[in-house]
């Protein structure tokens, strides 16, 4: 049984062949595949269309756009649409750029060339993770663990920082 398709994906890459490849590859997974060869008008498009995921190429040829690089556009999209997940397409050896992209808010990245199935899986994971909301218990457990790590195992200090008594902390730890 095939799950119903995901919504709309916007692909931005200055290479027409790559746009064609991605249109073929993603048409079974997404209702709509929108493509652009330049990010210059991406903010306008995002204001007009409902887009669920952006696939942004970081490997622009010089002079094709206004000279602003992929990171600039990544940050611009994040600023105006903080809820919109962005996945980057980077050149093969450009892992450091991908890492910078992740730190600037990208959800994931793929390198050229890619495997179609792996790409689709990554995009699905990004969208699925968005829909999952962690339970309160999960959030609490994670936070408690983080506080204990930060205090290097000092329970008294951790309890103080969490604003609870040491006994309460021990009780919650027992539940973990």
């Amino acid at each position: 049984m095939q799950k119903e398709k995901y919504g709309t994906i916007l692909v931005i890459d200055d290479n027409e062949a790559i746009l064609t490849a991605l249109r073929y590859c993603l048409s079974n997974t997404f209702q709509r595949v929108l493509t652009m060869t330049s990010p210059d008008s991406v903010l306008t498009v995002l204001n007009q269309e409902v887009v669920n995921l952006v696939l942004l190429d970081m490997n622009f040829s010089l002079g094709v756009n206004t000279g602003q690089d992929g990171l600039f556009w990544l940050r611009a999209i994040r600023k105006h649409h903080p809820e919109l997940p962005i996945v980057l397409i980077t050149a093969y050896a450009d892992v450091s750029l991908a890492v910078r992209g992740l730190k600037s808010g990208a959800s994931d990245f793929i390198t050229k060339p890619w495997d179609n199935d792996e790409l689709v899986r990554k995009l699905k994971d990004v969208l699925d993770a968005q829909n999952d909301l962690a339970t309160l218990d999960e959030v609490e457990a994670e936070h408690i663990q983080r506080a204990i790590d930060r205090c290097h195992g000092n329970m008294k200090l951790a309890a103080e920082q969490l604003g609870i008594t040491r006994q309460t902390l021990y009780n919650k730890m027992k539940k973990l």
Binding site: N15, A21, L22, A93, N116
Partner: protein
């Protein structure tokens, strides 16, 4: 009168001695020039019996030869690195749409089982092969800084010999022997040599270490250990020797052609060397020479 004759004889003798000395120096210069003309920068003329000024000159020339050889090797490596980086980038960008579109077409109902399937599959397989082939060279274009530290050589060789139980490792490397290298890189280089030997049908690997005696470089804090790694596998034909360390060149059917160039580059990055030894070790058909720095203690 006899005094004048004695003085005259002394002067003539002095001039003759000086001329003879000049001829000896010219001979030395000729030897060095011959070596350089044959692109052999590893000449090392003896400094015994030379007066102090000339000994200093000769030592410097010996050192200079070594420096030139290292520089020539490094230039070669740098040029290949730059070339492979540019090619890697372009080829990977270009194969991306080819492999993706052909992969999509392969799962298309009109192509699956049709007369076009074989053709599309061939396109897909070839593009995948090309990108895999190129991804091996990605390692050549990444500039990884080595993390130098003390490395216990005997233990590393022991470890490697256990990975290839079918080979007997005969070594005279004392336990312990500490060199200064990047452990990961050195291990990769040694593993590569052993792997090549195994693929060439070797049964025995001989490893011998000698410390390089540098008479003149007594002020140097680091010296180099000469590590000879030989095997009794198929010998390397003379016509393959010039291209042994050139990337892309392989005579193996399934070879990637980057093992030796990458190993040489890794040795250079650690301040060492990897070369084919001039003379093979006893009982070996192929011998490599590694120079590994070690701290004088």
């Amino acid at each position: 009168m006899p005094l004048l004759i004695i003085i005259a004889i002394i002067i003539v003798a002095a001039v003759l001695l000086w001329l003879r000395h000049q001829r000896i120096l010219r001979q030395r210069a000729w030897l060095m020039r011959e070596a350089i003309n044959n692109r052999d920068f590893s000449f090392r003329l003896p400094t015994k019996g030379l007066p102090s000024g000339e000994r200093a000159m000769q030592e410097t020339l010996n050192e200079l030869g070594n420096t030139i050889r290292e520089q020539v090797n490094q230039n070669e490596v740098d040029t290949w690195e730059r070339l492979t980086r540019v090619l890697t980038h372009e080829i990977m960008n270009a194969t991306a749409p080819i492999s993706s579109i052909s992969q999509s077409l392969l799962s298309h109902p009109d192509v699956k089982g049709s007369e076009f399937e074989d053709g599309v599959k061939a396109i897909y397989d070839t593009s995948r092969h090309l990108s895999e082939f190129v991804s091996n060279y990605r390692k050549m274009s990444e500039l990884e800084q080595p993390m130098l530290g003390p490395v216990e050589l005997h233990a590393m060789l022991d470890d490697i010999s256990r990975t290839y139980p079918q080979l007997t490792l005969q070594t005279n490397v004392p336990n312990p022997t500490t060199v200064r290298a990047d452990a990961g890189m050195l291990r990769q280089v040694l593993m590569n040599l052993v792997k090549n030997a195994a693929e060439a049908g070797a049964q025995k690997i001989v490893i011998e270490a000698t410390k390089e005696e540098d008479e003149g470089l007594s002020k140097a804090k680091t010296r180099t250990l000469n590590l000879f790694v030989g095997n009794d596998g198929a010998p390397i034909p003379a016509e393959n020797r010039p291209t042994l360390f050139v990337p892309f060149f392989t005579t193996k059917r399934r070879g990637s052609g980057i093992g030796l160039p990458l190993s040489r580059r890794m040795m250079l990055q650690q301040g060492g060397l990897l070369e084919l030894a001039d003379r093979p070790l006893l009982g070996c058909h192929v011998t490599f020479l590694l120079n590994i720095p070690y701290n004088r203690e």
